[in-house]
């Protein structure tokens, strides 16, 4: 240690003018803050100036110090001065690198001394409001990286050896797998994973810079080219191992299957019930997001990560959106759709095709019954596309101020919209239809609504609910006529949902009742369930049967039991179960009794197929 400190002290003495320069830079910062405000108050100018100077001196001096400590001695063949003394290579390296580090950090400290002295207490109070610790630690880490980087760049530039080719080629070659893995992670919208990986890669690089600088000097000693050669080989060899590990890690992250989903973000069962598209964050893989198509026979296929799958009515075609751009795709990119991808499902699985169809802004999409056409609304413009030809068939402006809640094909040429509108200061629910042959739209119905209300439409778009603060009403979309009024039925008292065949199920929690209504609003059955229980939306695990999970608020394991309700008889069967039914955003829409209607989630967020009648339970996919 004595030798290290001796060398450090010598190097610092040689560069002592840097400390004077730092002090003067602090004085200049004060003068600048006093004569030019840059649109800020004087204290803020001083604070910004102080932070800037800390960053400039810690990183800038770190780079210059690292660049000059050893490379200059090697170039000028002065390393023999140290090598001829009884000091080890590690002591020489340690002494010089420590000197560069102290030079950077001490000058970054000195630069703020006059600023703090002049700023006085107000400045200190101002500093306390800022993230001083963050700036200081980041600058310190920056100095650590800068010193090693400065040394490496300097010996590389000065060596003029053929090994410089490695320094030029290696980063480019290593950037390819890194970019590939980052793209995988971006495709999974794993922002945290990308951030963590960046920190890990930079840390590994800086660590290798330091290690390679030490080993390079120890092996190369007085020979600059040898020092550079050893440094480069170790640095890039080490980085190759790091990147290979990163690639393997990326592969492992990407290999996550549906059994690894820890929380389901979206579940989109096929209307045919043959399969379901599920997506969510992956267990043990930070925020990595994946999407899978799961089939009834227990298979799973990874598909383009997406947050929403739009099916055709026959369930054979679907579209998903690629977001965030080709370079860095992201499911959670805020706006737009960079490419519409068409998925085709058959007995063998799913095939996908990326189209040239894209939308710059948020969009709502729907497919025709056989999946040949796609209608979309984006930026208040309605378009219809032929998916096979990737050709736009129609384009029209939307009716002004229409907030579309639901969009659907009534047949191959008619598309219906159900949405909210504000007409002359009054809130309405409006239904419009677009005729593809005439390429024009028409208003079908318009109904006044409470401004606080929300709407929910049936799967066929033949009816819709208005959920107001004082009750719910069921309307005929074609006329707007009220089919059913349920006063007092609000979100606080329960929920209402359309079953797959557009019948309505209303849950009255305080009363402990389920009410089943026909499509046109006639009451079919009243079913008794425990009062004040908490039941979820139902799934339809068998024709004529509902499955409702019950949960208890505030419990560690809230899912307690499953209620099987026979819609024909009103009979309800209680089953102790910790499973909860998997239901899409628009309520149960898949064919009752199909694979998609019997998917449940376990307490540890695993997906299982469950037949509540026979008790058969198996993981999905069946692995």
């Amino acid at each position: 240690m004595r030798h290290i400190l001796a060398i450090t002290a010598r190097e610092l003495q040689e560069r002592r003018l840097v400390f004077l320069a730092a002090f003067l830079a602090g004085v200049v910062t004060i003068l600048v803050a006093y004569f030019r405000s840059f649109g800020m108050g004087r204290e803020d100018s001083l604070i910004v100036g102080a932070f800037s100077m800390i960053a400039v001196f810690s990183i800038g001096v770190g780079l210059l110090g690292g660049a000059s400590m050893m490379a200059r001695d090697l170039v000028e063949r002065r390393m023999s001065f140290y090598l001829a003394r009884p000091v080890s290579m590690m002591e020489i390296w340690g002494g010089k690198m420590l000197a560069a580090l102290v030079l950077a950090l001490l000058s970054a400290t000195i630069v703020v001394i006059p600023i703090v002295l002049v700023g006085g207490r107000p400045l200190l109070a101002g500093l306390q409001r800022e993230d001083v610790g963050g700036v200081v630690s980041l600058s310190a880490l920056g100095a650590v990286a800068a010193v090693a980087l400065g040394h490496y760049l300097s010996i590389t530039a000065r060596s003029r050896s053929t090994w410089v080719a490695l320094d030029l080629v290696a980063p480019l070659l290593l950037a390819i797998p890194i970019a590939m893995v980052v793209r995988w992670f971006a495709g999974g919208s794993a922002v945290k994973l990308i951030g963590g990986s960046a920190v890990a890669l930079v840390t590994a690089f800086v660590l290798l810079l330091w290690i390679s600088s030490a080993v390079g000097l120890a092996r190369g000693r007085a020979e600059l080219r040898e020092v550079h050669k050893r440094t480069s080989i170790l640095l890039w060899g080490g980085m190759a191992i790091v990147v290979a590990s990163f690639l393997a890690f990326g592969g492992w992250v990407r290999s996550a299957g549906p059994e690894d989903i820890r929380s389901f973000y979206s579940v989109d069962p096929s209307p045919s019930g043959d399969g379901v598209v599920v997506s969510g964050r992956m267990r043990g893989r930070a925020d990595y997001f994946s999407t899978f198509y799961l089939t009834a026979d227990g298979r799973s296929e990874r598909i383009t990560p997406s947050s929403e799958t739009i099916y055709s009515a026959d369930g054979r075609v679907a579209v998903v959106c690629e977001r965030g751009g080709a370079l860095l795709p992201s499911v959670f990119a805020e706006r737009g759709c960079d490419a519409v991808e068409v998925l085709r499902f058959d007995g063998n699985g799913v095939s996908s095709r990326r189209t040239t169809i894209s939308f710059r802004d948020d969009n709502t999409k729907v497919l025709s019954p056989n999946g040949s056409l796609m209608a979309a609304i984006s930026n208040n413009t309605f378009t219809v596309w032929n998916l096979a030809r990737e050709q736009m068939m129609a384009s029209a402006r939307m009716p002004a101020a229409l907030g579309v809640r639901r969009l659907g094909f009534m047949d191959e040429t008619t598309i219906r919209f159900i949405g909210t509108a504000n007409v002359e200061g009054q809130n309405h629910v409006e239904v419009h239809e677009f005729d593809l042959s005439e390429k024009a739209w028409r208003t079908v119905s318009s109904v006044l609504r409470d401004g606080e209300s929300s709407i929910m439409s049936s799967h066929s778009l033949a009816t819709y609910f208005i959920n107001a603060s004082n009750g719910r009403s069921l309307h005929d979309s074609a006329t707007g006529n009220v089919l059913l009024t349920i006063p007092g039925a609000t979100r606080r008292t329960g929920w209402a949902v359309f079953l797959h065949d557009d019948r309505v199920l209303l849950y009255d929690r305080p009363a402990g009742r389920l009410y089943l209504y026909a499509q046109r609003g006639e009451l079919i059955r009243e079913i008794v369930v425990p009062a004040n229980s908490r039941l979820t939306w139902p799934s339809e695990p068998s024709p004529g049967w509902l499955a409702l999970s019950e949960w208890e608020m505030g419990e560690d394991e809230p899912w307690k039991r499953l209620w099987l309700v026979n819609l024909e008889t009103g009979e309800s069967i209680k089953k102790e179960s910790d499973l909860r039914a998997l239901i899409g955003w628009s309520g149960p829409s898949e064919k009752p009794g199909s694979f998609g209607s019997r998917l449940f989630i376990t307490p540890d967020d695993r997906l299982v197929y469950f037949d509540p009648f026979s008790g058969e339970r198996r993981p999905v996919p069946n692995v």
């Binding site: 063949r77 002065r78 001829a84 009884p86």
Partner: protein, 305 residues
């Protein structure tokens, strides 16, 4: 001073390459403790590469450089306590003054004596507060030498120490300093182009040529077996074959006769040559180290030993 029976300095099959260029190849030699070893060679012969290996600055591509029987590449730091080095090119940081250099070295060596170092510098009239970079080349060398001596090394390696020194300083270096060190038992390994200075000081001489050690021999023996002979022309043609028996290194034919440098002189072989050639006016003169070096260095075959 312990050497445990090992040579102070030694090389074993030492080879250094720079890419495709071989700087030194298969060098073997020993420097006895307490001796003065002069390594000679023309520029580019490989002297600096050899010294760098002997000091542990450079790893040989093959073979070993040994100091007191220990591999210097592996044990440089501990061996440098016993070795001092005066480089050909001044290597101290140019911003430091001589006094600062002394103080800095004092923190690296155990038993360092600052006062002695300062006295050495004063004796040499070195300004203590002038930056090293601003000193003359001779002064820089004297600073390096003064510091080297404070260490009281068991081995002193001098790489062309007379470069930049005036005549007086040169004479002092060889006749006083090196002789004095040798008398005290210090092993001195010196490379120089100032060959007259080595006469009477060096115990052994090594000559490098194109990276190979073409000669490694006691100076006294070397000077005994290398002689210059001269004789008149008329018999010259008839005696060329006989002349080869004396292992000539250099043969010059003049109008007045023949002059040759023989590498394996002995009274017996000369008498045999005289008898067989019938030459009566044969003159034999001893050669200086410089003359021998020139003769060997210009000999294409390099058959010096």
């Amino acid at each position: 001073m312990t050497t445990n029976g090992h040579a102070a300095l030694a090389a074993r099959n030492l080879t250094v390459r720079y890419g495709k260029l071989t700087a030194i190849e298969g060098i073997d030699f020993d420097v006895a403790p307490g001796s003065v070893y002069a390594l000679l060679g023309r520029n580019g012969a490989g002297k600096s590469s050899l010294i760098r290996c002997l000091l542990g600055f450079q790893k040989p591509d093959q073979g070993q450089a040994l100091v007191f029987g220990r591999e210097v590449w592996r044990e440089r730091a501990s061996l440098m306590k016993r070795v001092a080095f005066v480089p050909e090119e001044p290597d101290a940081p140019p911003e430091m003054t001589a006094a600062e250099i002394v103080r800095f070295c004092g923190r690296l060596y155990e038993g360092w004596n600052d006062r002695e170092a300062m006295e050495n510098l004063n004796r040499l009239h070195i300004p203590l507060k002038v930056q090293y970079g601003k000193l003359s080349k001779g002064q820089k060398r004297q600073v390096a030498l003064a510091i080297a001596l404070v260490v009281r090394p068991e081995i002193l390696i001098l790489d062309d120490p007379t470069l930049g020194l005036d005549v007086v300083a040169r004479k002092q270096l060889f006749e006083e300093l090196i002789s004095d060190l040798a008398d005290r038992g210090t092993t001195v390994f010196v490379t120089t182009h100032d060959l007259p200075g080595l006469e009477g000081i060096a115990d052994r001489v090594g000559i490098l040529r194109n990276g190979r050690m073409v000669l490694d021999e006691d100076l006294e023996q070397l000077k005994w077996r290398f002689r210059r002979i001269r004789y008149a022309t008329p018999a010259a043609a008839a005696t060329t074959a006989e002349l080869e028996q004396l292992e000539t290194v250099e043969v010059r034919r003049w109008a007045a006769g023949i002059e040759a440098v023989v590498a394996n002189y002995s009274d017996t072989s000369l008498e045999r040559f005289r008898a067989s050639s019938g030459i009566r006016d044969l003159q034999v003169t001893p050669m200086s180290l410089e003359e021998i070096f020139i003769a060997i260095s210009s000999d294409e075959q390099g058959a010096a030993s």
